[in-house]
Symmetry: C2
Subunit: 357 residues, 2 copies
């Protein structure tokens, strides 16, 4: 049947214990012995039995990356960076254990599936779990997630939040590290930029109401308006999904209701692209007739003409850092294990001074 560790041991003329030690590299083995074992491994084309290994060591080599929407580049970029980091982290100083299997789990934004995946990963005794993207703002669900994370942490699973707000810092929080995107500050700067250009009638296309990311960005937007003494007309804010169709629909409604808008801020770049499309469809030029701004600085933000003014989130860096924190003994800088990821304003062609200003 399949080759087992015992077969390797036999061929290398050593005990199973020695083979295990060579493969896991956590115990001194004489160079000659090691060579012999590695040769036998290669000769027999031996592949470790993961479940057996996980059972004995009571931790597996699985790292789960939870994403809200697998088809959204925002998550794709982070997940891909995290995976690359984890795959390459084997030899990293401080690395925990050997080669990891980084896998992404798509919750589709559904609270139930988020919980299901967490349970499934718990069942697999995952080495680490990375949760990306905003959390769902439902008290019941948050509590259920927190409880699940506590169970995971108890079993030794490292937990990294990437782009999520920190969990309430209770004593003995289950979370290993949190990378918190500074959505509020970024949004504040973005709207501040538009205000500085003279805009005061600014529409806002928000994301799904129940996401923390949506709320934080909206709060930043409103804070900027308030700071500038500009009244915030609630009718100028519309909620939708984080996608292009949503941007088209919302922009259309917004401009129908108030054709005098001179700028529209979108909760992310994909929505912003939709807003641009909608604007052009009704004959408005960007930015001459309408300034449009996005958020995230996805690659697609520079695909259009003019390129999008947006807020840059270092997704690749954040994803990679999340991966690193997940599989090494490295601990987080920052108080309570929370690292704030900066959100930087990037001014491009899609925003301009208000006419006559």
């Amino acid at each position: 049947m399949t080759v087992t560790l015992a077969d390797v041991a036999h061929r290398a003329q050593v005990s199973p214990a020695t083979v295990s030690r060579v493969l896991n590299g956590n115990y001194p083995v004489a160079a000659a012995t090691r060579e012999r074992v590695l040769r036998a491994v290669k000769d027999l084309d031996y592949v470790v039995n993961g479940p057996a290994s996980a059972l004995a060591a009571s931790t597996s080599s699985l790292v789960g990356i939870l994403v809200n929407d697998i088809a959204d580049p925002f998550f794709g970029i982070m997940a891909s960076a995290a995976q690359a980091q984890i795959s390459g982290a084997e030899g990293t100083p401080g690395a925990i254990g050997g080669e990891k299997l980084a896998v992404v789990c798509n919750t589709g934004g559904s609270p139930e599936r988020e919980l299901t995946y967490l349970t499934l990963l718990q069942r697999q005794r995952a080495a680490a779990v990375i949760l990306t993207g905003g959390a769902i703002e439902d008290p019941d669900h948050s509590a259920a997630v927190a409880a699940k994370l506590a169970r995971l942490a108890e079993a030794g699973t490292r937990i990294v939040l990437c782009g999520r707000p920190p969990l309430p810092p209770s004593a003995g929080s289950p979370v290993t590290a949190t990378l918190s995107f500074d959505n509020r500050a970024g949004a504040r700067r973005l709207t501040g930029h538009l205000l500085a250009l003279g805009h005061t009638r600014i529409g806002y296309v928000a994301g799904p109401a129940e996401r923390t990311t949506t709320r934080h960005r909206l709060e930043g937007h409103r804070a900027a308006l308030a700071a500038a003494g500009v009244a915030d007309d609630p009718a100028r804010t519309l909620h939708g999904a984080f996608d292009r169709a949503s941007g088209i629909a919302a922009a259309t409604r917004l401009l129908d209701a108030e054709p005098g808008l001179t700028a529209v801020v979108a909760a992310n770049d994909t929505i912003a692209l939709g807003v641009c499309t909608a604007a052009r469809a009704r004959g408005l030029r960007v930015p001459e007739d309408l300034s449009v701004a996005g958020f995230d600085d996805l690659p697609s933000a520079t695909d259009t003409v003019p390129a999008l003014t947006t807020v840059r989130l270092p997704l690749i860096e954040a994803g990679a850092r999340a991966g690193l924190l997940a599989v090494t003994r490295e601990t987080s800088h920052g108080p309570d294990g929370v690292e704030t990821v900066p959100a930087e304003l990037v001014v491009r062609g899609s925003t301009g001074a208000i006419r006559g200003a």
Copy 2:
């Protein structure tokens, strides 16, 4: 410490064997006993130890979905459909085992990472593996993949190809089922459509040269030209990546070299969107001055004005079917387990009759 099956057995006043049987549902257990066990499971918040279970049963509940590019909606859509199907397939007639953990592994198009992931999934004794997207046309790599798949199949892992060409049908092929996209026929129809509109100077923006998908679509394109007796000028074909930037770059070069082109066919929709952008950037109207066509019929194909003429691939259906084949005892229709997924021409606004025709 953590709750084990023995704890549950003790609480339910039954033997561990009975608990196992209740949880796996593969053996008759009296209703009353089952109830008692399920109560105990709930009371203790018991979660199966996946590795232990996998070790004893010599198969895990992991299903790996390999994708070339996690940030590409083409893969996102298929993967997401497959995941949804697998998560929901637990009770399906013919289902193999219980709840599965469907995870996606991003190879980034790298042959090494493809092999690495396959090995890692082998190590985890995955229940099934789904390989999506075109294969890499390198004899060494193909052989290595085939060998790896053989090892996986030997260990009981089901293997489903989705959007890949069938493996050479050797006796005892390791592949459980193949969903082969009919790229050639689709491409032939698409170019046929342009020829029917009177176009003869048609540019082609191909994908990466080493992918089977690229080759098949290009072959279809050329077959259509040949069938119409239109000479195929190799200079009109440019290879690039499957992304928008590639489309912009290639279209620019193509139109610089031969401004008289009246149509450009792209190897996929994302490239086509880039072609549209490049065309507009040089003042060409689509479709009046230049017809543009894509492939795949991604959601973004209808986001633009005019919407893209393209070839529809039923990605959701294919992904779901792949998921089903992966986790149920269902076998593939079609000879050698190969099912051909049709590619249907979708005519929209981005293609038009040649001027004066």
